[in-house]
Protein backbone atom coordinates (compact mmCIF):
# COMPACT_ATOMS: atom_id res chain seq x y z
CA UNK A 1 0.00 0.00 0.00
CA UNK A 2 2.89 2.31 0.75
CA UNK A 3 4.33 1.73 -2.71
CA UNK A 4 0.96 2.34 -4.32
CA UNK A 5 0.71 5.62 -2.50
CA UNK A 6 4.29 6.56 -3.34
CA UNK A 7 3.54 5.85 -7.00
CA UNK A 8 0.60 8.25 -6.83
CA UNK A 9 -1.94 5.53 -7.53
CA UNK A 10 -3.87 5.81 -4.32
CA UNK A 11 -4.15 8.03 -1.29
CA UNK A 12 -4.59 7.22 2.38
CA UNK A 13 -2.89 5.64 5.36
CA UNK A 14 -1.42 2.27 4.30
CA UNK A 15 -2.70 0.43 7.37
CA UNK A 16 -6.23 1.77 6.82
CA UNK A 17 -6.10 0.94 3.13
CA UNK A 18 -4.96 -2.61 3.86
CA UNK A 19 -7.67 -3.05 6.50
CA UNK A 20 -10.28 -1.86 4.05
CA UNK A 21 -9.06 -4.17 1.30
CA UNK A 22 -9.08 -7.15 3.62
CA UNK A 23 -12.54 -6.23 4.83
CA UNK A 24 -13.79 -6.28 1.25
CA UNK A 25 -11.95 -9.52 0.64
CA UNK A 26 -13.05 -11.49 3.69
CA UNK A 27 -16.44 -9.99 4.49
CA UNK A 28 -17.97 -12.54 6.91
CA UNK A 29 -16.15 -15.56 5.56
CA UNK A 30 -13.71 -15.96 8.46
CA UNK A 31 -16.51 -15.94 11.03
CA UNK A 32 -18.26 -18.65 9.04
CA UNK A 33 -15.07 -20.71 8.81
CA UNK A 34 -14.38 -20.33 12.52
CA UNK A 35 -17.91 -21.41 13.38
CA UNK A 36 -17.72 -24.26 10.90
CA UNK A 37 -20.89 -23.15 9.16
CA UNK A 38 -19.36 -22.56 5.72
CA UNK A 39 -17.05 -24.62 3.57
CA UNK A 40 -13.66 -23.40 2.49
CA UNK A 41 -14.17 -21.60 -0.86
CA UNK A 42 -12.95 -23.30 -4.01
CA UNK A 43 -9.86 -21.98 -5.79
CA UNK A 44 -12.08 -20.38 -8.42
CA UNK A 45 -14.34 -18.77 -5.80
CA UNK A 46 -11.30 -17.39 -3.98
CA UNK A 47 -9.93 -15.82 -7.13
CA UNK A 48 -13.30 -14.31 -8.01
CA UNK A 49 -13.65 -12.93 -4.51
CA UNK A 50 -10.16 -11.40 -4.67
CA UNK A 51 -10.83 -9.83 -8.06
CA UNK A 52 -14.13 -8.37 -6.88
CA UNK A 53 -12.47 -7.02 -3.73
CA UNK A 54 -9.70 -5.38 -5.77
CA UNK A 55 -12.22 -3.76 -8.12
CA UNK A 56 -14.38 -2.51 -5.26
CA UNK A 57 -11.33 -1.21 -3.44
CA UNK A 58 -10.13 0.77 -6.43
CA UNK A 59 -13.63 2.18 -6.98
CA UNK A 60 -13.60 3.38 -3.38
CA UNK A 61 -10.18 4.96 -3.92
CA UNK A 62 -10.08 6.80 -7.24
CA UNK A 63 -6.85 8.19 -8.64
CA UNK A 64 -5.75 11.07 -6.37
Amino acid sequence: MSESRAAGLIDGRPADLAAQFFGLLWRDLMIGLLLGVVERPTARAIETRARNAAEAFLRLHPMP
Binding site: E3, A7, A18, F22, G23, L25, M30, I46, A50
Partner: protein
Protein backbone atom coordinates in the same frame (compact mmCIF):
# COMPACT_ATOMS: atom_id res chain seq x y z
CA UNK B 1 3.36 -3.93 -0.92
CA UNK B 2 5.74 -6.87 -1.23
CA UNK B 3 3.43 -9.63 -0.24
CA UNK B 4 2.18 -11.32 -3.37
CA UNK B 5 3.73 -14.66 -2.49
CA UNK B 6 3.80 -14.01 1.19
CA UNK B 7 1.68 -16.66 2.74
CA UNK B 8 2.86 -20.18 3.36
CA UNK B 9 0.56 -21.13 6.16
CA UNK B 10 -1.08 -24.20 4.78
CA UNK B 11 1.63 -26.74 5.42
CA UNK B 12 0.43 -28.95 8.18
CA UNK B 13 3.36 -30.57 9.88
CA UNK B 14 2.77 -34.28 10.10
CA UNK B 15 4.90 -36.78 11.86
CA UNK B 16 4.39 -40.29 10.50
CA UNK B 17 5.28 -42.94 13.01
CA UNK B 18 7.73 -44.56 10.64
CA UNK B 19 9.78 -41.36 10.47
CA UNK B 20 9.74 -40.66 14.16
CA UNK B 21 12.84 -42.66 14.95
CA UNK B 22 14.78 -40.91 12.23
CA UNK B 23 14.23 -37.51 13.81
CA UNK B 24 16.34 -37.80 16.90
CA UNK B 25 18.13 -34.43 17.00
CA UNK B 26 16.91 -31.90 19.57
CA UNK B 27 15.45 -29.60 16.94
CA UNK B 28 13.66 -32.47 15.23
CA UNK B 29 12.33 -33.82 18.53
CA UNK B 30 11.15 -30.34 19.50
CA UNK B 31 9.38 -30.04 16.17
CA UNK B 32 7.80 -33.43 16.73
CA UNK B 33 6.59 -32.39 20.18
CA UNK B 34 5.08 -29.18 18.81
CA UNK B 35 3.36 -31.12 16.04
CA UNK B 36 1.96 -33.61 18.55
CA UNK B 37 0.84 -30.80 20.84
CA UNK B 38 -0.88 -28.95 18.04
CA UNK B 39 -2.70 -32.07 16.88
CA UNK B 40 -3.80 -32.86 20.41
CA UNK B 41 -4.99 -29.29 21.00
CA UNK B 42 -6.99 -29.43 17.79
CA UNK B 43 -8.56 -32.78 18.58
CA UNK B 44 -9.21 -32.46 22.31
CA UNK B 45 -8.95 -28.75 23.06
CA UNK B 46 -6.19 -27.06 24.98
CA UNK B 47 -7.65 -27.52 28.46
CA UNK B 48 -8.41 -31.22 27.99
CA UNK B 49 -4.95 -32.06 26.65
CA UNK B 50 -2.38 -33.22 29.18
CA UNK B 51 1.38 -33.03 28.84
CA UNK B 52 1.46 -36.80 29.27
CA UNK B 53 -0.75 -37.19 26.21
CA UNK B 54 1.49 -34.89 24.20
CA UNK B 55 4.58 -36.76 25.33
CA UNK B 56 2.95 -40.07 24.40
CA UNK B 57 1.95 -38.81 20.96
CA UNK B 58 5.45 -37.44 20.37
CA UNK B 59 7.04 -40.60 21.80
CA UNK B 60 9.22 -38.71 24.25
CA UNK B 61 9.45 -38.68 28.02
CA UNK B 62 7.76 -35.90 29.96
CA UNK B 63 11.19 -34.88 31.18
CA UNK B 64 12.39 -34.49 27.61
CA UNK B 65 9.23 -32.62 26.72
CA UNK B 66 9.71 -30.07 29.50
CA UNK B 67 13.40 -29.72 28.72
CA UNK B 68 12.90 -29.06 25.02
CA UNK B 69 9.68 -27.06 24.94
CA UNK B 70 8.43 -26.30 28.44
CA UNK B 71 4.95 -26.41 29.85
CA UNK B 72 1.69 -26.71 27.97
CA UNK B 73 1.24 -22.98 27.64
CA UNK B 74 4.67 -22.63 26.09
CA UNK B 75 3.83 -25.45 23.71
CA UNK B 76 0.71 -23.68 22.48
CA UNK B 77 2.58 -20.40 22.07
CA UNK B 78 5.38 -22.16 20.20
CA UNK B 79 2.95 -24.14 18.01
CA UNK B 80 1.07 -20.99 17.03
CA UNK B 81 4.31 -19.05 16.67
CA UNK B 82 5.75 -21.64 14.30
CA UNK B 83 2.75 -21.26 12.03
CA UNK B 84 2.64 -17.48 12.31
CA UNK B 85 6.29 -17.33 11.26
CA UNK B 86 5.18 -18.40 7.82
CA UNK B 87 3.58 -14.99 7.37
CA UNK B 88 6.70 -13.52 5.81
CA UNK B 89 6.92 -10.85 3.17
CA UNK B 90 8.64 -11.90 -0.07
CA UNK B 91 11.04 -9.72 -2.00
CA UNK B 92 9.51 -9.87 -5.47
CA UNK B 93 6.61 -7.78 -6.68
CA UNK B 94 5.95 -6.02 -9.98
CA UNK B 95 6.58 -2.29 -10.16
CA UNK B 96 3.36 -0.43 -9.48
CA UNK B 97 3.22 1.97 -12.42
CA UNK B 98 -0.53 2.07 -13.04
CA UNK B 99 -3.81 1.11 -11.46
CA UNK B 100 -4.30 -1.88 -13.74
CA UNK B 101 -1.12 -3.38 -12.29
CA UNK B 102 -2.28 -2.46 -8.81
CA UNK B 103 -5.57 -4.29 -9.46
CA UNK B 104 -3.63 -7.36 -10.63
CA UNK B 105 -1.35 -7.27 -7.59
CA UNK B 106 -4.27 -6.87 -5.20
CA UNK B 107 -6.11 -9.74 -6.85
CA UNK B 108 -3.07 -12.01 -6.74
CA UNK B 109 -2.29 -11.03 -3.18
CA UNK B 110 -5.88 -11.43 -2.02
CA UNK B 111 -6.10 -14.82 -3.71
CA UNK B 112 -2.90 -16.00 -2.08
CA UNK B 113 -3.85 -14.75 1.37
CA UNK B 114 -7.33 -16.23 1.26
CA UNK B 115 -6.06 -19.56 -0.07
CA UNK B 116 -3.53 -19.85 2.74
CA UNK B 117 -5.56 -18.40 5.60
CA UNK B 118 -8.71 -20.40 4.81
CA UNK B 119 -6.69 -23.60 5.13
CA UNK B 120 -8.32 -25.75 7.85
CA UNK B 121 -5.07 -25.90 9.83
CA UNK B 122 -4.82 -22.13 9.93
CA UNK B 123 -8.47 -21.78 10.91
CA UNK B 124 -7.78 -24.26 13.69
CA UNK B 125 -4.94 -22.02 14.91
CA UNK B 126 -7.32 -19.09 15.05
CA UNK B 127 -9.87 -21.16 16.95
CA UNK B 128 -7.25 -22.18 19.48
CA UNK B 129 -6.04 -18.62 19.90
CA UNK B 130 -9.59 -17.36 20.37
CA UNK B 131 -10.41 -20.12 22.82
CA UNK B 132 -7.35 -19.25 24.86
CA UNK B 133 -7.93 -15.50 24.68
CA UNK B 134 -10.06 -15.80 27.79
CA UNK B 135 -6.81 -16.55 29.59
CA UNK B 136 -5.47 -13.19 28.45
CA UNK B 137 -3.93 -12.08 31.74
CA UNK B 138 -1.83 -15.25 31.85
CA UNK B 139 -0.71 -14.76 28.28
CA UNK B 140 0.30 -11.13 28.68
CA UNK B 141 3.75 -10.57 27.30
CA UNK B 142 3.63 -13.49 24.91
CA UNK B 143 1.89 -11.63 22.07
CA UNK B 144 0.24 -14.90 21.20
CA UNK B 145 -2.29 -13.33 18.91
CA UNK B 146 0.04 -10.88 17.23
CA UNK B 147 1.03 -13.23 14.46
CA UNK B 148 -2.30 -14.77 13.67
CA UNK B 149 -4.48 -11.82 12.77
CA UNK B 150 -6.47 -12.92 9.72
CA UNK B 151 -7.70 -9.52 8.63
CA UNK B 152 -4.59 -7.48 8.01
CA UNK B 153 -1.22 -9.23 7.72
CA UNK B 154 1.53 -6.96 8.91
CA UNK B 155 3.36 -7.03 5.61
CA UNK B 156 0.30 -5.63 3.83
CA UNK B 157 0.41 -2.41 5.78
CA UNK B 158 4.07 -1.58 5.32
Amino acid sequence: MRCVKAYRLSGTIRYPRSRAKENTGSAAVRERILGAAFEAFQERGYAATSTLEIATRARVSKRELYALVGNKQKMLIAAIGERAKRLQAPADMPMLRDRATLAQVLTAFGTQVMREVSDPTVVAVFRLAIAEAIQAPRWRGHSILSGVKPAVPRCATS
